[in-house]
């Protein structure tokens, strides 16, 4: 069983009391406990089981404007005492930083509403095994599938965040995650693809056979790929890739990147950064949402933010420290975005495919080719050549490149948004990018 609020609260107040007693002017502490159980399958039989049971503690102590932090997994009182002593000793010799402080008291979350993020259902390992058997049975029903690996993870977590200004709250969350990776082979090639599902509640997880079939289908269609020539071509990003554009955007508008001047979106507030049909929203209070939260990692209340309105940048993601640097109040985004999404476009998926006589549909990218300082983007890619709305043949060993500043202004979104993950996007088309191939 995951530790209850009382246990975590008692550890947290022990830490705060101790820090205060040693002379800290302020302190904040997070105590968490998490239990995970995973079962792995390979080729329709059990491959591994894994159980983890982890406590985690992190403390920040302040002496005026001096601050330092410690973290540990050892929650024995004696160890905590030694660590807080060490932390406070370090605080004393760390230089002052005028922006160091706990969040403003009036911004702290006051009322915690239930977002239904915890499902106490216990899905025993035997049931996980049954689920994975069904999943792999479906995934391997086609002869071209030569290997399947799948897993099911059940996680239950609880935490308390407390600070010396009297904030003390936390809540339980759960997640159920299942995934399948398939390998297919024909006389020309061997290819791999995947499918996964992750939900707060067990009952929302996809059917085992649907997930297995999807993984297999996505893998088989990649067999016998071609390399295409180098050219400018319109690129369509599958939903699982288009949401990555939002993650890049979110990093570029974090108060930290803005304050440091290391973002290609610095000094763009209230300016057009996307084409004017685009709206981007970050919504923390979606019921059962994978990214939902009642408050951020500093305890600050978080409300829905419209980040982009009709293509115009309206908000940064602000935490206390970096907010003070750029004269903005925290908007409860210490720790990043919550449930981030593009609003739907007004063209159907089918029409998007047909929009150009020839386009490249990307299903996977590899490499770390996003430069947040310059906005330059260049990654390896796999996908399909689409002609007149039809998938013609798989394509791989190519790269796609552009600059986010231009790419954001050439986006067309389909109207197929679904709330599957913490970051969600409809299918996306970007015109004017370069493909490097043969």
């Amino acid at each position: 069983m995951v530790k209850d609020q009382e246990f975590l609260k008692s550890k947290a107040s022990y830490c705060l009391d101790l820090a205060k007693k040693m002379g800290a002017t302020d302190a904040s502490v997070t105590v968490g406990h998490s239990i995970s159980e995973t079962v792995n399958f390979r080729n329709k039989s059990l491959e591994a089981s894994d159980r983890s049971d982890g406590l985690a503690l992190s403390i920040e102590t302040y002496l005026g404007k001096r601050r330092s932090s410690i973290s540990s997994s050892n929650l024995l009182d004696e160890n905590i005492k030694t660590l807080i002593e060490k932390c406070f000793e370090t605080t004393k010799i760390t230089p002052e930083d005028e922006f160091n402080s706990l969040p403003d008291k009036n911004l702290l979350a006051k009322q915690i509403s239930s977002l239904n993020l915890y499902d106490e259902t216990r899905f025993e390992n035997d049931k996980k095994i049954k689920y994975l058997k069904d999943l792999e049975e479906a995934a391997s029903s086609n002869k071209q599938i030569i290997n399947t690996e799948s897993s099911f993870t059940e996680n239950k977590s609880n935490f308390i965040l407390a600070n010396s200004d009297g904030f003390c709250d936390g809540y339980k969350t759960s997640s159920f995650t299942t995934s399948c990776v398939a390998v297919a082979k024909d006389e020309n090639s061997m290819e791999r693809d995947y499918e996964f599902s992750s939900k707060r509640h067990l009952s929302d997880i996809k059917q085992a056979s649907d997930l297995g079939n999807k993984a297999a289908e996505q893998t088989i269609r990649k067999l016998s790929p071609n390399k295409i020539g180098s050219e400018k071509i319109s690129i369509i990003f599958d939903k699982r890739i288009s949401k990555g554009m939002l993650s890049v955007f979110a990093s570029a508008i974090s108060a930290s990147a803005i304050a440091r001047g290391t973002s290609f979106l610095k000094d763009k507030m209230d300016q057009q950064v996307f084409v004017n049909s685009i709206n981007v929203i970050d919504k923390p209070d979606i019921i059962k949402g994978m990214g939902s939260q009642n408050f951020d990692s500093e305890g600050v209340n978080s409300n829905t933010l419209q980040l982009i309105e009709n293509g115009i940048l309206k908000n940064y993601l602000v935490d206390t420290y970096n907010g003070k640097k750029i004269n903005l109040q925290s908007n409860g985004r210490s720790g990043g975005t919550t449930n981030l999404y593009f609003e739907n476009g007004n063209i159907s998926y089918e029409d998007l495919l047909k929009k150009n006589s020839k386009s490249l549909y990307i299903t996977e990218t590899i490499g770390h080719g996003s430069n947040l300082v310059t906005g330059d983007y260049s990654v390896g890619a796999t996908g399909f050549l689409v002609e007149d709305g039809e998938f013609k043949y798989p394509v791989n060993e190519i790269t796609i490149a552009g600059n986010f500043k231009d790419m954001f202004k050439n986006i067309t979104l389909a109207n197929d948004l679904e709330f599957e993950y913490s970051v969600n996007s409809p299918t996306m088309m970007i015109e004017g990018m370069t493909v490097a191939g043969k």
Binding site: R42, S45, L46, E47, A48, S49, D50, R51, S52, D53, G54, L55, S68, S69, I70, S71, S72, S73, N74, L76, L83, C87, T90, I93, T94, P95, N147, V183, S189, M190, E191, R192, K227, E231, K232, R260, G261, T262, E364, I366, G367, H368, G369, N371, V373, T374, S378, V379, G380, T382, N396, E397, I398, T399, A401, T434, V435, A436, G437, K438
Partner: protein, 470 residues
């Protein structure tokens, strides 16, 4: 060395007994105990941004029978907690019986000292170096707009207890010093990053004001990039510089030669043992035994002493990298490549220091032989799709080559290639093998482990460069 048995009600005798009893009917397994102390100190935006110390303690208990691995970890080292884990393992493996393999090779060699680098340098003197870095770079040139510098240090103590009570221990120091600088000139911004590190004390790396050299190198890379032009797009010849660019080898073929992917036949290399997979003259080893290197280990995380494993000899595929589990199932021996990020993770076969050895040609000859291509000197990260064999890496410093001469610097571009065929495209191997500066971390299945790479300059006849200029 940590004593894991003075922290709770669990005695060594209890642990020995429980380990033997749990693993009695299994093929392999062990109790892995770990205590780590780590620090990170970061200067950013003219200030000491964070100073963090962290201590971590826990165990991971593993039992293997046939192809099934049961694993359980906890950060509470106690009788109850270990018993719970034991029950958990037994229930997973209840219907599968094995025969425990007690054999584990021994060695007295050690490749680094039992030091705690964190304690060997005072916090004040670390802060002083970071402030000096900031001042030095900002004074150096008006174009310097942002400086980030950091220290990261760690001491990890491990003990492995096997069935029968055999115990193996190791103490592993690791440090890293990093500088990143952003320049702005005529409205353009570019960053340069450089770092050094390994398994010695901070001062071993920072003596003779070596931090200045790290600053100069980061500044040089950023300056070069300020002048960079859009990179070309398409297939062309690529000359790679020596040292860190060997992450090409790590991505292109290293991962594909790890035992697990080959046992499962999901690697593009699984049926190529003994075959020619590289040009003649190409020899690649994975070596865990180089003194004080970031990727070196005295013993791996299963207790096997590390070694120098020849992967490709003169173009022919000779060995895969193995941990005990995959080695047993493939009827071979562990190469001391069983590694894990920490006690929270299962062991996987991983790389240590992956190196292409020197040949006889010079970098000059390579450049001169290229009509149109690029010269890549430094990289950010890379990634590979093991199954299709396609891999990428991102240039952070590269130049055009036109008619045998190095031309303008080009913007960061991704290079993409095919692992099983790329080494056949290597037409020249340089005589200038160099180790990387000690900064690599390899990710696999969500686990990061420190690794090293090395190579001489090489000429690749055909690779796709992912620029924007057609």
């Amino acid at each position: 060395m940590s004593n894991f048995f003075n922290k709770s009600d669990l005695t060594r005798q209890d642990a020995d007994k429980l380990v033997s009893e749990t693993l009695n009917n299994c093929d392999d397994g062990e109790l892995y105990l770990e205590e780590s102390k780590s620090e990170s100190i970061l200067l950013d935006d003219n200030k000491i941004k964070s100073s963090n110390y962290s201590s971590d303690l826990g165990f991971g208990f593993r039992a293997i029978s046939n192809e099934v691995v049961a694993y359980s970890y906890s950060n509470e080292i106690s009788k109850d907690s270990l018993k719970n884990s034991s029950e958990n393992l037994k229930s997973t493996l209840k219907s599968i019986k094995g025969t425990y393999n007690h054999e584990i090779p021994k060695s007295n060699k050690k490749f680094y000292k039992d030091i705690n680098p964190i304690e060997q340098k005072t916090l004040n003197s670390k802060l002083e170096v970071l402030n000096k870095v900031n001042e030095f770079l900002r004074k150096k040139d008006g174009s310097v707009k942002q400086v980030t510098a950091s220290f990261a240090g760690e001491q990890k103590s491990i003990e492995i207890i096997r069935s029968g009570g055999e115990s193996l221990t190791d103490v592993r120091p690791l440090i890293r010093f990093n500088v990143s600088v952003m320049l702005e000139k005529n409205g353009r911004k570019e960053t340069g990053v450089y770092g050094i590190g390994g398994r010695q004390s901070y001062d071993d790396y920072l003596k003779n004001d070596n931090w200045k050299n790290v600053c100069e190198e980061a500044f040089r890379i950023a300056s070069v990039n300020l002048e960079s032009k859009p990179a070309p797009a398409g297939e062309m010849k690529v000359v790679l510089g020596p040292g860190w660019p060997a992450i090409l080898i790590h991505e292109a073929i290293g991962h594909g030669l790890e035992g697990d992917f080959n046992r499962k036949k999901t690697s593009a290399f699984h049926n190529l043992m003994g075959e020619k997979v590289a040009s003649e003259g190409v020899t690649i080893v994975d070596d865990g035994t180089i003194d004080n290197r970031r990727g070196s280990l005295t013993i791996d995380d299963e207790g096997t002493p590390t070694e120098r494993t020849v992967l490709i000899e003169n173009g022919i595929l000779k060995n895969f990298m193995q941990d005990r589990h995959n080695a047993r199932l493939m009827n071979t021996r562990s190469t001391g490549s069983g590694r894990r990020e920490n006690y929270r993770h299962i062991v996987l076969p991983r790389m240590r220091n992956t190196m292409m050895l020197s040949g006889n040609q010079t970098q000059d000859e390579m450049i001169k032989s290229v009509d149109k291509g690029i010269f890549a000197v430094s990289f950010g990260g890379g990634q590979v799709d093991i199954t299709s064999g396609k891999f990428v890496f991102n240039c952070t410093e590269a130049y055009e080559i036109n008619n045998g001469k190095i031309g303008s610097p080009i913007k960061g571009a991704t290079l993409i290639g095919d692992g099983p065929s790329i080494l056949k495209e290597v037409s020249m191997v340089g005589n200038d093998m160099m180790l990387d500066p000690g900064i690599g971390t390899c990710g696999k299945a969500g686990q990061g482990v420190p690794v090293g790479v090395a190579q001489p300059s090489i000429l690749i006849d055909k690779m796709t460069v992912g620029g924007t200029k057609l």
